[in-house]
């Protein structure tokens, strides 16, 4: 992959700073295999498979990229993996059935959605203590922390609400009603806008963070695919602010949205039940996890084309990438 010079400098810097000297890598959680697949992002091939806890779903990197947090839903814990040795070094007290989580910019507080308990658990990743448990709606799922660290937003699937949690007081401050079954929330890089997908509603709500009101709602339509199958889940925004990508679940397509005009530009065919997505560190490619077909599709962002699909484990769910 050719990289622009400034990215290359950054990359070399990062490599020198990090204890590892390996190429860019993606980690994918395989929900039904209890494993992580490791993908070499140069060759786009799976190089390793690592055993982890039961039913791994959401995964996230520590800000310094030295640790990987893994929601092992059926083990009722969040596992911490040391990326240098690829060993689990700790199990965090996450509360029951953790599904998704988000790390605060302070690199310590982890906000975890406990699907079965209608709770958000806040855990200190250094001391492994539970800092707070906040009551939210039924079946909490999506989790995001604003870039400035002020807000933690949780989605509750059954209540169809976004819950705004003040990270200073750990209190639920406000709720935003969205369409049925909100699955995922994603802040824009400047933190002014929040994108929330509604799986059953088939929409993505774009929310103004200051007013916490919906400013626009996007719906999707793909030729030849029944509207019921169009179920938005994962949302990813490109760092340059140009594009938003929305994974449309069993519609097997990713919608490409102009992040400024909110116009839907294209639909890209990927594997079956596309769930979550992540950019490669250089932002050239977007990787999607396709649960039912058990693979990861690679989207070339410049060409806006799906170039390859890589076989991973059964029911790939979450994905992270690092240099």
């Amino acid at each position: 992959m050719p990289k622009p010079p400034f990215l290359k400098t950054l990359l070399i810097g990062a490599l020198l700073a990090s204890p590892m000297t390996q190429a860019a890598t993606a980690y994918v959680s395989n929900e039904k295999d209890n494993t992580l697949s490791v993908i070499d992002l140069e060759t786009l091939e799976v190089t390793d498979t690592i055993d982890v806890g039961e039913r791994p779903r959401g995964i996230a990197l520590s800000k310094d990229h030295s640790k990987l947090f893994i929601c092992a839903s059926d083990s009722d814990t969040v596992q911490v993996m040391d990326l240098a040795t690829q060993r689990i070094i700790a199990n965090l007290p996450s509360g029951e059935d953790p599904e998704q989580f988000a790390l605060h910019p302070d690199n310590r507080r982890l906000y975890i959605a406990n699907e079965d308990d209608a709770l958000v658990t806040v855990v200190d990743t250094d001391t492994h203590e539970v800092l707070a448990q906040i009551d939210v709606g039924v079946e909490p799922e999506g989790m995001a922390v604003s870039p400035d660290g002020r807000w933690a937003v949780n989605t509750s699937e059954t209540t169809s609400m976004l819950h705004w949690i003040d990270t200073e007081t750990h209190e639920l401050v406000d709720n935003t009603l969205v369409d049925q079954r909100p699955r995922h929330v994603e802040f824009s890089h400047d933190g002014s806008v929040l994108w929330a997908s509604s799986e059953i509603g088939g929409t993505v709500s774009i929310i103004d963070v200051d007013s916490r009101q919906i400013s626009q709602k996007l719906s999707f339509r793909i030729r030849g695919i029944h509207p019921d199958k169009i179920q938005p889940v994962g949302v990813k925004l490109s760092a340059d602010g140009r594009y938003a990508f929305v994974a449309l679940g069993p519609a097997n397509h990713v919608a490409v949205v102009d992040a400024r005009s909110h116009e839907i530009l294209d639909y890209l065919l990927v594997g079956r039940r596309v769930w979550h997505m992540e950019f490669t560190p250089d932002q050239k490619y977007l990787l999607t996890t396709n649960g039912v077909s058990g693979d990861v599709s690679v989207i070339d962002v410049d060409a806006m084309k799906v170039t390859k699909s890589i076989k991973v484990g059964r029911y790939p769910w979450g994905i992270v990438t690092l240099d």
Partner: protein, 263 residues
Amino acid sequence: MHLAACMIALKGILKREFLRFIHQRTRFLSALVRPLLWLLVFATGFRAALGVSIIPPYQTYITYETYILPGLCCMILLFNGMQSSLSMVYDREMGSMKVLLLSPLPRSWLLFCKLIAIALLSLAQVYAFIGLGFLVDVTPPIMGLLTVLPALVLTALMLGSIGLFLSSRIRQLENFAGVMNFVIFPMFFMSSALYPLWKMRESSEWLYWICNVNPFTHAVELVRFALYTELNLSALLITTGTTAVFMVLALWGFRSEQVARRH
């Protein structure tokens, strides 16, 4: 030997086929309309149904339109190959074939020229069709447009030599309808042009076996791989072998005594 004479013959035959082509302008359109109907109407219905399988040379999931394009390119070559065999039967009945074959040049060369002429005209139609494919978002890599050229030429020669062989066997114009029913349709439908072979195997092992021995399948796969800048060696060998066999059979069919006896 008579290189200059050979070239004159090639030029003459090319010109004649070209003129015939120009005079039948509807032929160019109809050659495009047929695969376009398949692409725009038939494939649309299967868009979602078949869009989920990864088979080489594809690296990811493709729409049915993308899958069917190489098969439709070969369909153009197939119809042209057979249509030219029709024209040869016609030529024979009208006596112009006799004039051609009475030339002192080697008969094999003359017939080869005829094949080349047909192949070249078909290529123009295939590229026009691939160009139209871009309009409906079937976009093979640009390099593929170059690498597919030899595969298309070989396929055109194979189908042309099959057509030539058939025309050496068919005595009357009326029998051409039989060619449609017994050659073109089975060849096209019982191949990997419309469905991948694993899909055929799901329905019946017999059908899979027939598709597998159908040389048209291998021609389609050769074109499919070449369009994505890859070489399918077994397809290349089978297509080349089939071309050689039918070329020999066709030449044998056009031996002078046979022609003399028939006219």
